[in-house]
């Protein structure tokens, strides 16, 4: 068996595992287990990304998905609860939406270029310019970096702005220092708050 054939097998195996993990995440009610599985999900997809030659993406997905997201989710669980209270319900609307969306995508696949097709239009139009230019214009071997930082550097500027927004947003919502929290602490409310208490309002902000 060739390396390429093996890659295909890895590909299928990882995808299958991804699907099962996703189903498990859907079914499990223990949010802690969900967090652990989400981490596994990210690692799996990162592995798949390597198999698909997207090393940079795999790098990021591992760092973000398995690392940051997991920590974020654990942090959230620590501040909220670790079990889903309601048993999973079957939702017809959700099913219909999903079937419609999936149907549209499957419909689209029939006219998509085949998987791995070296003659796909996406490869023929803009990309050759990048591959060539990365060597000549920019002189950076990692084509992804040269596109990211130069050809589409503006997207990356936007990306940093997005991260910045998230940072500002979390600071805004949760506060950064203990002191912030301390004077908010006075208004904190437990879960036993009667629903008809007068003025609503998470007075914190």
């Amino acid at each position: 068996m060739t390396g390429a054939g093996m890659i295909t097998i890895v590909d299928i195996a990882l995808l299958t595992m991804l699907c099962f993990t996703a189903i498990a995440i859907m079914v499990l009610r223990h949010l802690f287990a969900v967090a652990a599985l989400t981490g596994a999900f990210s690692l799996l997809s990162a592995g798949l990304l390597v198999a698909l030659d997207a090393v940079d993406v795999a790098f990021t997905e591992a760092a973000v998905g398995a690392g940051i997201s997991t920590v974020l989710m654990l942090g959230t669980l620590a501040l909220t609860q670790r079990r889903e209270h309601r048993p999973p319900r079957f939702s017809l609307t959700a099913l219909l939406v999903v079937i419609a969306t999936g149907g549209a995508l499957i419909y689209a696949t029939s006219d998509m270029p085949a998987y791995g097709d070296p003659n796909a239009p996406a490869l023929k139009h803009v990309v050759p310019f990048y591959i060539e230019g990365s060597q000549n214009d920019i002189g950076v071997p990692n084509i992804v970096t040269s596109i990211l930082a130069s050809y589409r550097g503006y997207d990356t500027l936007g990306e940093v702005a997005v991260i910045f927004t998230a940072g500002i947003g979390v600071m805004f919502l949760l506060g950064l220092r203990r002191e912030d929290e301390d004077d908010e602490g006075a208004t904190r409310r437990g879960p036993g708050r009667p629903p008809d208490a007068p003025k609503p309002g998470g007075t914190k902000s």
Binding site: F59, L72, T156, V160, G167, R178, P191
Partner: protein, 145 residues
């Protein structure tokens, strides 16, 4: 975690290497996988590890929130200003060619600078988010737990 001696020692050993690895990813991004974003996350993870082992309060002394408040915007400012710099030097926005005499040099320089900006902001934001979560007191009843 006073009695988790192994953990404390291992992480103390590990953290410098993580930082080093982060720097490697930051500056090796041109040649291999990686770049500012990934490096930023790695940087942050070093601090997060520190906070996990030694507590957030200690981490706050190492990297105070005030510094974070400053670092979060600074990365973005660096990036955006690079764009304006290339305008001032006579190019279009984010045109690194004009940053140095030789276009290829300029590209290198530009990529280096903006990747640095990306790394700064990403690292700072990640630590910020961690602080924000970890610094909040738990408000959960035991029956929920």
């Amino acid at each position: 975690m006073n009695h988790h001696l192994v953990l404390r020692v291992v992480s103390k050993l590990l953290i410098p290497f993580i930082l080093l690895f982060a720097l490697y990813v930051q500056f090796h991004g041109d040649y291999g996988p990686g770049g500012g974003f990934q490096a930023g996350v790695l940087f942050a993870s070093a601090f997060i590890l520190y906070a996990l082992i030694y507590g957030v309060d200690n981490a706050r002394e190492v990297l105070p929130p005030k510094a974070l408040r400053f670092l979060v915007p600074v990365g973005l400012i660096i990036y955006a200003l690079t764009g304006f710099a290339s305008i001032v030097m006579g190019g279009n926005y984010l045109d690194y060619d004009v940053l140095a005499h030789d276009p290829q040099h300029g590209q290198h320089l530009g990529i280096l600078v903006i990747e640095f900006g990306v790394g700064t902001t990403v690292a700072a934001v990640m630590v910020t988010i961690f602080y924000a979560y970890a610094g909040r007191t738990r408000d959960v009843d035991d029956e929920d737990w």
